[in-house]
């Protein structure tokens, strides 16, 4: 019976190591101060919008000079971002830095892209919608089937839940003809009818080559992108931008980011701040002249401004995060257990050890255990003392509560 009692103490300890820190964070965590950072094509400097709690308003300023702007002034120094507002007020300039601009051109060259770790780390049902890319219709329509890609490609008719043999064979032949190695390691697309056009899927085969799959007039369009040697892709985000200049972003195992150009599938590396796809948030705000590449991690935010034409870094800024989290947990708790994370949609247990002080505190809890049991005239068990020394407050509570078998 003692063994069963110990198993109860172990379970209780582990559950407390999960629940107590979670409750602590629920009680004390505050949202980190977020600020939008833009690269101004007029000032040639980084500007930001951030909320000032003391003044109870948004502050718009040049980060380097600290010069503050009104809302209207801010619009005018960032015409490439706020062109719609400027256009409605008739204040949109004809050219910036000698480059002719128009609302149509600005819209075409504008791109907002965000990638968070859960885009990659999430359960996904391995069925895919392949739209007709040249339907001749303005709006995309569901194609009437889904495909799966295991050791072959199969199209399934959802109305009958049966395989469309003819179509499957036609696409399978295209895969064989182009030297695709089954099974696929990843299939990446953008299966939304809300987008303006469709570029199908980019597929990583078993030899880490990237292939491009589309359906054109009901027939397969399947190409090897002939990715340069040395890139080992781990994730692809198909973008389909308005100007049709590129297909997708490729994230490789060395945490580098590439774009696949629509011209001969050229791979161009996008200079990017230190970026871990499994932990950090990436956002790209692109316009006619500059690309704003921003990586937000626990350390802070780093922004690169790139020349839109040649993707060369023209400026960069790093804002270190002020620790808004009261990180007392690591001083009190010898370890904490997490089952959920902002970085994944999976339930995934992870143990985070506390620091040296927390282990020192465990001895205090051990003395407390002895004191409480002496006071209550209960048996003091060596094994429980060891357990409290290892697990601290998490082990102390169940060791007292479940003292008697």
């Amino acid at each position: 019976m003692k063994i069963i009692n110990y198993t109860i103490i172990i379970l209780s300890t582990l559950i407390l190591a999960w629940v107590v820190p979670m409750l602590y964070h629920l009680g004390v965590d505050k949202a980190s101060k977020s600020n939008f950072i833009y690269y101004s094509s007029i000032e040639k400097d980084f500007c930001s919008v951030s909320y000032d709690k003391a003044k109870n308003k948004n502050i718009r300023k040049n980060i380097n000079t600290d010069k503050e702007y009104s809302k209207t002034e801010f619009d005018s120094i960032l015409p490439l971002y706020f062109h719609r507002q400027l256009s409605s007020e008739g204040k949109l300039p004809d050219s910036i830095n000698g480059v002719f601009i128009s609302p149509k051109l600005l819209r075409q060259k504008q791109l907002f892209f965000r990638n968070k770790p859960t885009n990659k780390n999430r359960p996904h049902i391995q069925l895919f919608t392949l739209f007709e890319s040249m339907s001749g219709r303005v709006r995309l329509e569901l194609p009437g089937d889904f495909f799966r890609l295991d050791n072959n490609i199969e199209f399934i008719n959802p109305e009958t839940n049966t395989v469309k043999k003819e179509k499957s064979e036609m696409f399978m032949n295209a895969f064989i003809k182009k030297g695709f190695t089954f099974p696929a390691k990843g299939v990446f697309g953008n299966p939304s009818v809300l987008k303006s056009y469709d570029e199908g899927y980019f597929i990583i085969d078993n030899k880490d080559q990237i292939f491009h799959l589309k359906m054109v007039n009901g027939t397969p369009f399947f190409r090897n992108t002939n990715m340069p040697i040395g890139i080992k892709p781990q994730f692809i985000s198909v973008v389909e931008p308005n100007d049709k200049s590129f297909y997708a972003f490729v994230f490789d195992c060395d945490n580098k980011v590439y774009i696949i150009s629509t011209t001969n599938y050229n791979f161009t590396e996008v200079p990017c701040p230190e970026y871990d796809i499994n932990r950090d948030n990436l956002s790209i705000m692109a316009n006619m002249l500059y690309w704003n590449i921003s990586v937000t991690s626990t350390k802070g935010k780093t922004v690169f401004a790139l020349d839109a034409t040649n993707k060369v870094v023209v400026d960069s800024i790093t804002i270190k995060s002020k620790s808004v989290k009261n990180n007392l947990t690591k001083y009190i708790f010898p370890f904490t257990i997490k089952l959920e994370s902002y970085n994944t949609k999976y339930v995934k247990p992870s143990i985070k050890p506390g620091n040296y002080y927390a282990f020192m505190l465990n001895f205090f809890f051990m003395i407390l255990y002895v004191g409480v049991n002496k006071f209550r005239k209960k048996e003091i068990k060596i094994i429980s003392i060891i357990w409290v020394v290892i697990t601290g407050i998490f082990g102390l509570i169940p060791s007292i509560v479940f003292n008697k078998a």
């Binding site: 379970l11 999430r122 359960p123 049902i125 839940n161 949609k345 999976y346």
Partner: protein, 223 residues
Amino acid sequence: MWKAIIYKEWKKTKWFNIGIWMVAILLLTYIFMKIGRSFRFVGMEHLWDVVVNRDQFLFRNLKYFPIAAGIIFGLSQFVPEVIEKRIKLTLHLPLPKHRAILIMIAYGLILLTITFTIHILTTIVFVQLYFPKEIIISMIFTIVPWYISGLVAYSFIAMISLEPTWKRRIFNIILMVLTLDLFYISDFPGAYRFNIYLVILISIYVMPFVFLSVNRFKKGIQD
């Protein structure tokens, strides 16, 4: 002797069992009718689209059935034993130590497992008519933790009911609530896919807990 114990358990829990089966049938009928309505209104392709591309889960109504079944079945089996002090008689039967309790627990766990297995299999039989294996696998990984939580709830209810002191009973209830919370951390379809083994392990881990309560009951612990 074990047949007599099982007969006694059946007599005691029969109507609760039938009630659980009725709810199980009604729940599945409701879910199938609801999905059938969606078929007719928006078509299968749209339904597949929301499941595959928009992470919708069509069987969310199953979520609390297993845990409710486990708790109700456990209470129906063990509360009368405690209130009417019948457990004292059971513990004095001429059987090896804990054998009678083992049979009672095995009866409950096997019956619940059969009920849950039939429920899951019926769902799969229906689902495989309209959905491919990929959607079925995702569905299984989503609902299995809920069904296992029913078995865990049952084990805890047995432990709590047979515990002789109220103080320890309250701590056991707290432990049960927190342990069951582990099975409901995420609703996202397939979230438990890589840790389903952990969920199964917990259900096995908590099964012997009841014997501690029985032992304390036999010892006549008062505090």
